[in-house]
Symmetry: C2
Subunit: 109 residues, 2 copies
DNA sequence: TACCGGTACATAGCAATGCTGAATACCGCC
DNA sequence: GGCGGTATTCAGCATTGCTATGTACCGGTA
């Protein structure tokens, strides 16, 4: 994608990752691969890891180190209660924005 | 709104303003008032002006100074062809993101 | 006159977030 | 030993919205 997508991801990528973790626990490399698979072709490797560090520091996830057969140990993230609350608020914010944008897209105000 | 909305507006506020200008020409103060009316209660005055300066520098809008009865002259912005192209690309980017998020919202929790 | 509120625009410095680019480390296979 | 895939980390940068403040024009009013 382009610069447009980059800017739009600010504020939404966190929600996307939290939503992924709401379905099941996952580790950074896996999440990046999943995103690329979904069409977010240019998501930078480092971006996801930095985001994971942030949401860990904010207490939205629990972390467990799990040995891997094919490389260094994985850091598996699980969404906790606080994370679920934050995700819910994310959906509320996004819904508001989404509705306004749909309105504009359809035909004006 | 909160920090969440602030971050989410990065990358979308520009599109919102372009979409407004696609309907009809407008000036900064007017746009800010409209946004506040639509529920974007905490949009900062300066934010819109800075954004307008940016999209003018990028050549998305034409500007005309119009005297006002109630204060300093208004800078009325009109979307030009380049701006319309950019807006279309914005909608494509947003649609992509929106679809992915809807998917996550539905299938997730 | 002097002041206030509403209209209208501008800007310097800050905070948050994604990207670039590079480094580190583990493993199997040629 | 070297290569490629797996897996994480970090320093420095660009972009963008917010805070705070300043400028300017006008009408009403005390």
């Amino acid at each position: 994608m382009g610069k447009q997508m980059t800017e739009m991801l600010k504020g939404t990528l966190e929600g996307i990752v939290l939503a992924i973790l709401a379905v099941r626990s996952a580790y950074g490399y896996e999440i990046t691969a999943w995103l690329r698979d979904q069409g977010f072709a240019d998501i930078a490797e480092g971006t996801v890891y930095a985001l994971l560090v942030r949401i860990e520091q904010r207490g939205f996830v629990d972390v467990e180190k799990v040995p891997s057969e094919k490389g260094p140990p994985r850091k598996v993230y699980s969404l906790n209660t606080q994370g679920r609350d934050h995700l819910e608020e994310f959906w509320r914010t996004w819904s508001f924005l989404s509705e306004r944008l749909e309105q504009l897209h359809r035909g004006g105000n």
